[in-house]
């Protein structure tokens, strides 16, 4: 067991080393990156990825997937934005509505997968298309900007604690996201829901035959995922200037990729939310950081792909070692 643990810890350690290496490289080669504001703006664009990733960690641990979070996120943000602009919905209600819509779509996914036994890839591909379709029907609807009435919600994600020189300011969004990571890590490891989520991914049949209401917990994994997609919608609306209708496809892939980089097993049954946070940070650093060192954004995709291959290879090697020990 101690040996196992050290291997598992390895992947997270490796990921942290990768993060450190990237930050150091950027620091050395880019004077711009050294400014605190650059780091803040990079973090701004990481929140929705991290939130989506926290959520999708759960379906991925059950050996499923949720492809609908990217388009879903944009769709919820559009609907809520439209309601704010045209129907004067209070912003706070709009934010709750985003989360609620996320939960509903998550429940739909969970129902199709956990109860109707549709393959997760297929079920969420369908809801991905549906949410994208609904998203396309809504007119481009900016949420109130920072200076407009109701724009306070930007503060949650864009503003910082503290006063005085920028270096002492702590981004509120980052604090919030880290708290959520810690909360969900705790949920994963210390609650029935978390334990069963992992067990379902490891051996669903055995869990059913242990007399556990597997359908409920399986559905719940997707509801949690949807809920975080709803939170991501708020974070997304807070940081992008305008939300384009019909977009969002592909955004989920950054989050899912991050989860895998963070050490969730590609076959389910193992994972951690802390790992997810680290994994997503790697993706975010690649996505927003490479331009600082003069590399085209295209390179981000290529390098991310390679990093992902590396991460999955660690998982495969781990399994092979386990199989050998047996």
């Amino acid at each position: 067991m101690t040996k196992k643990k050290s291997i598992l810890a390895d992947q997270r350690v490796i990921v942290c080393l990768v993060i450190a290496a990237l930050v150091i490289i950027y620091f050395i080669f880019s004077p711009e990156f050294r400014q605190y504001s650059s780091i803040l703006s990079m973090l701004d664009f990481s929140y929705y990825d991290i939130l989506m990733a926290i959520g999708v960690t759960f379906p991925l641990i059950t050996a499923g997937v949720d492809l609908s979070i990217g388009t879903g996120m944009v769709c919820y943000a559009l609907i809520a934005g439209r309601l704010i602009r045209d129907f004067n919905l209070p912003v706070v209600l709009a934010m709750l509505l985003c989360v609620l819509m996320g939960c509903v779509v998550g429940f739909a996914n969970g129902f199709l997968i956990g109860v109707m036994n549709l393959p997760p890839f297929l079920a969420t591909l369908c809801t991905c298309m549906i949410t994208r379709g609904i998203g396309s029907m809504i007119m481009a609807t900016p949420w109130p900007t920072n200076k407009q009435p109701g724009g306070w919600f930007h503060s949650i994600f864009k503003l910082t604690f503290g006063t005085g020189r920028s270096a002492t300011k702590i981004p509120i969004g980052f604090v919030l996201v880290v708290l959520l990571v810690i909360l969900m890590e705790f949920v994963l490891n210390h609650t029935k829901f978390g334990r069963y989520t992992i067990a379902i991914g490891s051996n669903k049949e055995a869990v059913i035959l242990s007399g556990i209401n597997v359908k409920f917990y399986h559905v719940m994994a997707y509801v949690i995922c949807g809920c975080f997609a709803g939170l991501a919608a708020v974070a997304y609306a807070a940081v992008v200037p305008t939300i384009q209708p019909g977009t969002g496809a592909g955004l989920e892939l950054d989050a899912i990729g991050g989860v895998f980089v963070g050490g969730v097993s590609a076959r389910g049954g193992y994972g951690s939310v802390l790992g997810t946070l680290a994994g997503v940070m790697v993706i975010v650093l690649l996505k927003t950081g490479l331009p600082y060192v003069g590399l085209q954004a295209n390179w981000q995709q290529i390098i991310t792909g390679m990093v992902l291959i590396g991460a999955v290879m660690i998982d495969v090697a781990k399994r092979r070692r386990m199989a050998k020990e047996q």
């Binding site: 067991m1 196992k4 210390h190 609650t191 029935k192 334990r195 069963y196 992992i198 067990a199 490891s202 051996n203 049949e205 055995a206 869990v207 059913i208 035959l209 242990s210 007399g211 556990i212 209401n213 049954g269 193992y270 386990m322 050998k324 020990e325 047996q326």
Partner: protein
């Protein structure tokens, strides 16, 4: 026979894995025209030795001589091409392909760019004729019984022009009748001059089918015996270093007035469970005997709510209950230990603790959170009580041996406080020593007032453990015997009643 030269000799084979001396200068040889048993408890090194032979592992030292030449294979393909083939315990068949496609997988006959299915079917048919097996090469593999699939695996081995065939626990999943068929084939192959290595845990088979026995223990070579000159006890002694066989039960241990804890009436669930009724009494071990496919597992799964029922009433402690899901069954104190532990019983990549409390989480909660201390405490209690061999409660179950994994599943239901336990093939894939422990444990549980339904395909197990025996055949209950009147013959007659 002793005059024949060995076709294959392995000498001083040594292999070390990190932390384990898996093979310690092992000697093994097999001659053309003999069946040579390779025995030993799980983990004794039998499979490792065969994996070294067929190139899955490379040896650290030692020599392998085959047909007079020193050889070393780097993968199974090379070994196959040379004529050394393994028939695996777990069948390596692609369920969705036909029999013929499976047999010639990887070396399909081609007609230009097209696969020549016709020729493959024809060749398969020839193979089956040679082996006197009745299988249609066009059938889908997944439609065949386990026994038939095994026959296909043998046919595949022979189609490689094999000179040495290794059977790795071939009988583990077969019925008595299928085992007989298998033995006919093995004898036939022996007569044709093939060298056969037979790995098995089943003592009876070894006596029946093999010419020599080589025993391994803890990675070391213990010795080789001529089968007809030795007794079961000789072999077992070599395997474990102690005599462990127990006599069959002769009479029921259950008092006449013991209350009925479970009553099943007219249970129906598809073709495999037709109108099955029985009673289980407190402290009783009720054996379910029958051939593979008799509907015993299906009956248990329907009773447990794992598969849908079409009819029937279930009474627990005299009260009628509704069981539509495993959840309901567990609520009424019924626990099910599946025949396929890895698939249905345990979560192998999780710890003993997590598995032990899996069915009774709600008792180990502190508000919304899991009470890990309490969890660990109860797990350690059962590790001690069941004498599970493990370095600790947080050991991953995947690292335990079959017998100890089974104990973890038992612990799961004991933690849940289940009074009715369904053991489906409780000792499948478990070595002799551990088997005995499981038996003792079952006897202890019934002495403590638990009641057990035991499904078993092993006649010796049925006769040794059961107080009463229910016999099934093709989805119907065909008989019920008290242990005092049960004999192998009586059970077999009922188990095959409808089979012509």
């Amino acid at each position: 026979m002793a005059a024949t030269e060995a076709i294959l000799t392995m000498e001083n084979i040594d292999k070390t894995f990190p932390g384990v001396h898996a093979l310690d200068h092992v000697h093994f040889d097999v001659r053309s025209g003999e069946v040579h048993a390779l025995m030993g408890e799980n983990g004794a090194g039998k499979s490792t030795l065969m994996k070294v032979l067929t190139g899955i592992y490379s040896k650290d030292s030692g020599t392998i001589t085959y047909e007079g030449k020193e050889v070393e294979y780097h993968n199974t393909r090379e070994a196959q091409d040379a004529g050394i083939v393994i028939v695996h315990q777990e069948l390596n068949m692609v369920g969705d392909l036909t029999v013929a496609q499976n047999i010639f997988i990887g070396r399909e006959f081609m007609k230009g760019f097209r696969i020549d299915d016709k020729k493959m079917i024809e060749e398969s048919r020839k193979l089956f004729e040679e082996l006197k097996i009745d299988i249609n090469p066009r059938d889908k593999m997944s439609d065949l019984t386990v026994g038939k699939q095994q026959m296909c695996e043998i046919a595949k081995a022979i189609s490689h022009q094999a000179k040495v065939i290794i059977f790795d626990e071939p009988s583990a999943a077969l019925t008595e009748k299928e085992i007989e068929d298998l033995f006919l084939i093995i004898r036939d192959l022996r007569a044709k001059g093939l060298a056969i290595v037979y790995i098995s845990h089943r003592m009876d088979e070894i006596k029946v089918i093999t010419d020599r026995v080589t025993v391994m223990r803890d990675g070391g070579y213990v010795g080789t015996l001529i089968t007809k000159d030795c007794t079961k006890d000789d072999i077992i002694n070599m395997m474990v270093g102690r005599v462990i066989y127990e006599e069959p039960k002769t009479e029921s241990h259950v008092p006449k007035d013991a209350p009925v804890v479970l009553k099943v009436e007219h249970l129906n669930a598809g073709r495999m469970v037709q109108d099955v009724s029985f009673e289980l009494r407190k402290g009783e071990i009720l054996g379910f005997s029958g051939l593979m496919g008799a509907g015993r597992t299906e009956t248990a799964r329907a009773l447990f709510g794992a598969d849908p029922k079409t009819g029937g009433d279930i009474y627990v402690n005299g009260e009628k209950v509704t069981i539509n899901s495993p959840q309901d069954a567990v609520k009424h104190g019924i626990g099910y230990l599946s025949e396929d532990r890895k698939r249905f019983g345990i979560v192998v990549q999780k710890t003993i603790t997590e598995n032990s409390t899996l069915a009774s989480m709600e008792n180990y909660m502190n508000g919304p959170f899991i009470d890990k201390a309490a969890e660990k405490e109860v797990t350690e209690k059962y590790i001690k009580e069941l004498s599970t061999k493990t370095p600790g409660a947080d050991q991953l179950v995947v690292n335990l041996s079959g017998g100890n994994q089974q104990k973890v599943v038992i612990a799961k239901w004991l933690v849940r406080n289940c009074d009715i336990l369904i053991f489906d093939e409780p000792t499948r894939g478990i070595d002799v020593g551990a088997k005995n422990e499981i038996y003792k444990l079952m006897n202890r549980l019934t002495a403590e007032g638990k009641s057990i339904i035991m499904i078993s395909s092993e006649m010796t197990e049925i006769l040794r453990m059961s107080d009463r025996i229910v016999i099934m055949c093709e989805g119907k209950k065909t008989g019920e015997l008290d242990i005092s009147e049960a004999t192998q013959e009586k059970i077999m007659t009922k188990a095959t009643r409808d089979i012509s």
